[in-house]
């Protein structure tokens, strides 16, 4: 039976146990979840992992990304990612230890995969989810190129995107270890 004491017991376990208490709750519920097929999961899973897991088929380079950016992003993020009304997407290199650190994709972000993941889920702001995979790869390439991280003709796809080493990657330390 599920009781508040049961709750407290688990909270206590968290303090003394170091790893996830998998199985602690087994049998507590009526097991009414509906099992999903591989395809049903694939249709909704848009998470992209730093190792590239979850990246879709398709490709694009910065050249192709220029027009995607101008048509879909520039109005808010400015020409070449600078001077727009919303976040600056380019520059700030070497500012992190200064009085006015400027955190951009190029100066701060640790993983290139994050850019693809975020733009796919949240941008363009007024019409999220409207870009094709090729356009997403292309605009990702364009922003990485503007930040001096890849060449203009470098083709990004599910294999090459996770290989990119972001300049600030090694400056991140985990404050939490699982």
């Amino acid at each position: 039976m599920f009781t508040p004491d049961r709750w407290l017991g688990t909270a206590f376990c968290f303090i003394v146990c170091t790893s996830a208490a998998t199985g602690t709750w087994a049998g507590e519920g009526p097991s009414l979840g509906v099992e999903l097929s591989v395809d049903e999961v694939a249709a909704v899973d848009i998470t992209v992992m730093p190792d590239g897991e979850g990246l879709p088929a398709g490709s694009g380079n910065a050249k192709a990304g220029t027009s995607v950016y101008v048509a879909n992003c520039m109005a808010c993020h400015g020409e070449k990612g600078v001077g727009g009304v919303n976040d600056t997407l380019v520059g700030g290199h070497g500012t992190l230890t200064s009085d006015r650190p400027q955190k951009t994709i190029g100066s701060y972000w640790p993983y290139a995969t994050t850019l693809f993941d975020y733009v796919r889920r949240a941008m363009p702001y007024q019409t999220p989810g409207s870009l094709e995979n090729n356009e997403l790869y292309a605009v990702t390439a364009y922003l990485l190129h503007l930040n001096g991280i890849i060449e203009e003709d470098k083709i990004l796809n599910a294999e090459t995107l996770p290989e990119i080493e972001m300049p600030n990657r090694d400056n991140f330390v985990w404050a939490y270890s699982p």
Binding site: A20, E28, E35, T47, T97, R100, W109, A122, F172
Partner: protein, 419 residues
């Protein structure tokens, strides 16, 4: 009869009183008012005519319409990417009315049809599962009265000069509610988490599809799939029809409008956990995953923008909380931190919840600086502003939990100061 007639024991410098003394004086004040009320007065108008009818959903008195969320601001060109703040100094007790709970959204509030909303759990599990709202209603639920705080709360106090702002403008990204829902562990165990799993990635069904990685240990500890807030279905602005609720951890992780949980072995390094909610250090390195909210307190009355009418006996009250557990002690100073008195904590003092503190203060009419500082059950102490800034980088923003000082001028104005 005035409060001067009551003997009160000083508890610290500049007029802070023993809390028992305050209670006595308060009681006597009530008696004095009763005696003063004229017995033969004409009846007030509202006692001479029938009141209005019942209605389906009540609202506050028409005289309370100025109690609103404050500091509503959105990024340029947007209406739904920003924040609104809980009007802390206009509220009492510890529970925040749902309609006044602060907001922090990234692309507006979605209008979700509950019949078409599903929670999907997949990834490193034996069985990927989908749950409708109707199914979740059959699951064991539990209620937890706990706070939710945005880790950007109070960040405005990093400005080099103190902004002349109110308590809620400065600290209003905090609220407490009774959250009711299904412990996430129950659903994860039903899906069967694989041994190599360490994290989950939660995703919301808003236009930003907000996404955060959460350690599995937290999910199995005290995480809730919250369906109700303060007894009713969660409001759209707080995640209708369901949200993740992670007690004590930075608010952004308690993903609203939750519709998908992917169990993984590593974090996804989403935009919000890398680009945004990470903490830059003075040497240029940055901390990822600074999840728990620190120990903190703030005096809500008197506070910035309020006015003290004349010298005399006042109650100092405020809120204290810690993402690590219960509040153990709150001290209040009326002389800018030279001396401190222990404040009374109102029961119940719950883990990872707001705790209301109160203390009595006789203001002598001279300028004074009020401060509060909290200690939690693990002995963690609220830092001073100077010490907090010294250990962080200039660019630091999140997890500001330093001691707040309010200056009372000779004319009774209350303002934010650094002391």
């Amino acid at each position: 009869m005035t409060d001067q007639d009551f003997e009160m024991t000083p508890a610290a410098g500049n007029g802070l009183m023993e809390r028992r003394g305050f209670l006595r004086a308060g009681l006597a004040g009530g008696i004095a008012m009763l005696v003063a009320a004229p017995a033969t007065a004409d009846r007030p108008a509202w006692t001479k005519t029938p009141g209005t009818a019942m209605n389906g959903y009540g609202s506050p008195s028409r005289f309370e319409t100025d109690v609103q969320r404050v500091g509503i601001g959105s990024l340029p060109g947007t209406v739904g990417t920003g924040a609104s703040r809980t009007p802390l100094e206009q509220l009492s007790g510890t529970i925040t009315p749902s309609g006044l709970h602060f907001e922090r959204h990234h692309n507006g509030i979605p209008d979700i049809d509950p019949d078409r909303h599903q929670l999907i759990i997949h990834g490193l599990v034996e069985r990927p599962l989908s749950f409708s709202l109707e199914t979740l209603a059959r699951y064991p639920m539990t209620s937890r009265i706990q706070f939710l705080e945005c880790s950007g709360n109070s960040g405005a106090l990093l400005a080099p000069t103190p902004a002349k702002r109110t308590c809620s403008q400065l600290h209003g990204l905090i609220a407490a509610s009774e959250w009711t829902g299904v412990p996430l562990g129950v659903l994860l165990d039903e899906a069967g988490v694989k041994p190599e799993a360490r994290w989950l990635v939660a995703e919301g069904a808003d236009a930003a599809m907000m996404s955060r990685s959460v350690p599995l240990s937290k999910a199995f500890d005290d995480a809730l799939i919250a369906l109700y807030q303060n007894g009713e279905r969660i409001r759209p602005s707080n995640g209708y029809p369901m949200r993740l609720f992670l007690p004590g951890w930075e608010g952004n992780m308690s993903v609203k409008w939750l519709h998908r949980i992917k169990v993984t072995s590593t974090p996804a390094m989403t935009k919000d956990e890398t680009s945004k909610y990470s903490d830059l250090q003075p040497d240029g390195t940055a901390k990822l995953f600074t999840f728990p909210m620190g120990v903190k307190s703030v005096i809500t009355n008197p506070s910035g923008g309020l006015h003290m009418s004349k010298p005399g006996l006042y109650q100092i009250t405020g809120l204290a909380w810690s993402g690590a557990g219960r509040i153990n002690r709150v001290e209040v100073s009326a002389d800018g931190g030279k001396s401190w008195a222990t404040a009374a904590l109102e029961e119940p003092v719950l883990t990872k919840n707001l705790t209301r503190f109160r203390t009595a203060w006789r203001w002598n009419g001279a300028p004074a600086t009020l401060m509060s500082r909290a200690v939690d059950e693990h002995g963690s102490q609220q830092p001073t502003r100077d010490s907090l800034i010294a250990e962080r980088s200039r660019g630091f923003f999140y997890h500001y939990n330093a001691i707040q000082a309010w200056r009372i001028t000779r004319s009774g104005e209350v303002e934010n100061v650094y002391a």
